[in-house]
């Protein structure tokens, strides 16, 4: 009888050890406000690894997963408990800013100091390869003239980033009442694309990275990339800007730190991240993950984030997501 108890206890202990895969203690911590596996997790793990590879920080960067409320739990924790902790960086992206714009975080955007974006997934507008819609101009005309005739979809809910950037395109193309366009939420960009291939929906707005395989196989056609320059991997796909629709829709990946971090420490982080951005390590890792490396840091980035929040808040009001 004794033996079995000890065995079970040993198994339990072994498991505990496995669960907390022990990282050596270090000062720097990167919090991914999600479960392992997603985009924020990738941001922390990759940036953490390269920071220590390049000796920009001492020792290893400790990665903590703190899921909850699409980042709200982490936001609240940093605002309340560690606003001045200069050793803490937190992964965020367009998704986090959307939540702030719609008032779903416990603190406003100026509760944090935004450090930099290091890369972005480019938004695209896609149709099935057999769709009668041949160009972005044709799509925007249809959306403006008869919005009810189209079913559009993407990986976010109504008022999420996939939806908002499509509405930005539609508004630029002449759609007045943004709420008239039908929007369907799917759990991911590929889900939406396969549903489009199955004939359930007409147009997909989502990130390029996830659906690139379908573009290469010719199952879907990209009408426009929502970026300043064509996507390096797909130079033949025209941008929306080149077709007269002045909209960009990056899903950027970046970092913030606490709102009480000193100017000195803030500047030091921005400098460290810029060194990281320019390294071969990051340029390769970002491309491998389907991102286009793009740098915006410091005050420049702060301004960009605030402007994006305003656009999002305004469109959210227009479609009745917030008051």
């Amino acid at each position: 009888m004794k033996i079995f108890n000890t065995t079970s206890a040993a198994v339990g202990l072994a498991m505990t050890a496995m669960v907390t895969v022990a990282a050596p203690a270090s000062a720097t911590e990167c919090i991914a406000p999600s479960n392992p596996g997603g985009g924020w997790d990738f941001t922390c793990r990759t940036i953490g690894r390269i920071l220590s590879d390049l000796d920009l920080v001492e020792g290893n960067v400790q990665i903590t997963n703190m899921p909850g409320g699409v980042g709200a739990v982490t936001y609240a924790m940093v605002a309340n408990e560690r606003p001045g902790d200069a050793d803490l960086i937190v992964a965020t992206s367009t998704v986090g800013i959307t939540q702030i714009a719609q008032g779903r975080y416990p603190a406003p955007i100026d509760a944090m100091r935004y450090l930099a974006m290091l890369g972005a997934d480019v938004g695209v507008i896609a149709v099935d390869d057999e769709s009668p819609i041949e160009s972005l101009a044709q799509l925007t005309e249809m959306m403006a003239a008869d919005p009810g005739s189209l079913v559009t979809a993407g990986s976010s809910g109504a008022g999420g980033w996939d939806h908002i950037r499509l509405l930005m395109v539609a508004r630029e193309g002449g759609l007045e009442n943004l709420g008239d366009l039908r929007w369907v939420q799917f759990d991911g960009g590929t889900d939406a694309v396969t549903q489009m291939m199955g004939g359930q929906i007409d147009v997909v707005s989502t990130d390029m990275g996830e659906i690139a395989g379908f573009v290469e196989s010719g199952d879907i056609r990209i009408l426009a990339a929502l970026s300043d320059e064509p996507i390096p991997a797909f130079p033949d796909i025209p941008t929306a800007i080149s077709q007269g629709i002045d909209v960009t829709g990056y899903n950027w990946r970046g970092l913030y730190t606490g709102g009480d971090v000193s100017d000195e420490d803030y500047a030091a982080w921005v400098e460290r991240l810029e060194t990281l951005y320019n390294s071969e390590n990051w340029q390769t890792a970002a491309v491998e993950f389907g991102l286009v490396p793009i740098w915006r840091g410091g005050d420049d980035f702060e301004a960009y984030v605030r402007e994006q929040e305003e656009v999002m808040a305004q469109i959210s009001r227009d479609i009745g997501i917030i008051e």
């Binding site: 009888m1 079995f4 108890n5 079970s8 206890a9 198994v11 339990g12 072994a14 498991m15 496995m18 669960v19 907390t20 895969v21 479960n35 392992p36 596996g37 997603g38 997790d41 990738f42 793990r45 903590t64 703190m66 899921p67 909850g68 409320g69 699409v70 709200a72 739990v73 609240a76 779903r104 809910g157 109504a158 008022g159 999420g160 039908r182 369907v184 939420q185 799917f186 759990d187 991911g188 590929t190 889900d191 396969t194 549903q195 291939m197 199955g198 004939g199 359930q200 929906i201 990275g209 996830e210 690139a212 395989g213 379908f214 290469e216 196989s217 491998e288 993950f289 389907g290 997501i321």
Partner: protein, 504 residues
Amino acid sequence: METFSLLAHGFAVALTPLNIALLLLGCFAGTLIGALPGLGPVNGVAILIPLTFAFGFDATSSLILLSSVYFGCMYGGRISSILLNIPGDEPAVMTTLDGYPMAQQGRAADALAISGVASFFGATVAVIGLTLFAPMLARMAIYFGPADYFALYILAFITIGGIAGVDPRKTLISALLGLMIATMGLDPISGIPRYTFDNYHLYDGIDAIVALVGLFAISEILMLLEKAAKDRAKPIGIDSWIPDFRTIWTTKWAILRGSVVGFVAGVLPGAGASLGSVMSYSMEKQASDKDDTFGKGDPRGVAAPEAGNNAASGGALIPMLSLGVPGSGTTAVMLAMLISLNVQPGPLLFERQPDLVWGLVASLYLGNVALLILNLPMIGIFSRLMMVPTWALMPIVAAVSFVGVFSISNSTFDLELMIIFGVLGYLLRKLDVSLVPLVLGLLLGGDMERNLRRAMSISDGDWGVLIASPISVTLYVLTVLFLGLSIWLTMRDHKRMQSRTMEG
């Protein structure tokens, strides 16, 4: 024939020493992780991802390791279901229904052996399906629209009525509770918080694993505490430590049916292993529960869902590899890892990365055999767990539950939530309300709602969309047939009972 030469090539990839070692390690670790309440395949796979990066394995080796953990978890999940009435992971809930009663009757070894063999066959059927039909099935699955998924969930829910409990009203209440809990959190369609009480921890909804461990493990501890206060619980005897192979043979049709049903559920992106095991169990009950033995320790009630959940796990790899659409939480994590290793899953994966795909397929065949060989001798050891007195066992269960749940999100909130669910589970069990419909509502309710609302968004509010496709109509016809059959069976049994009483 081309398939076979590709598969032969795959075996050549899988049979390198490194890959064999990773395979065995993955199977063993997976079985352990799956067996522990709270830790499921998602955690297992997520825990091992940093390891694959740290050692710099290539994509094929990493995927072999993660898939063997995934399959290992599916095997392991049944162990605590059968022995402790605590599902090790989500799809293992159905195994508790007949597995635990079997263990209570001293037939733990039989139950474990049946589940091992059923898991083996289910997974093998899935891998054969993957070998032969993967690209074709993936092409067919894309025609399954939101309205069709909704019909599929309706079918699953209707069959619940037949699964659990004596009193249909209590089953209904339990299922409704589950559905209500599933609506908590940020509504994914509109982003509006629902039933979150302004608590950010509730924005992501209730993690099914946290609820599950609370409902089953913590409530079990409370039940035993109560019992122990009255009389000292005696350990349960075991009839035999060696499983009876004739009993296993009697479950052959259940295994076969379960495998097919599970595989189909797995191939559909977004349905996954939980739906696979639910459907397999309820179909089997309809097909063969002539003497009302299901839920009381019928070996077929263990065989069907185990074959079903393993077949579904294998099936879920089809949409993951050939469409890049994850069929479950675990495949979602694996997908993220593949992308970060610069492998783009999708329609071209089979052409571009034949080494990876066929190496994986071959390693799944090998992993299945390894798991069966690994698991059968362990039956003797595991079934002795039944002889551990409860005063020694329950503290360990409690400790493992807390560690497991805490490891998911490092959040003490989840621990509190788990305890709340434990108390809820205890109360419901005292009221004789089966927990299974609640769990099914919780597991399947979210997807059911989302698909209904997607269908309604597509049709702009026209309910006709729900019966507009031949697939959904077929599913509704099946649902009605199911309902009719179970009502007819109940009436027949009722009449027989009456005539027996009259004769008596």
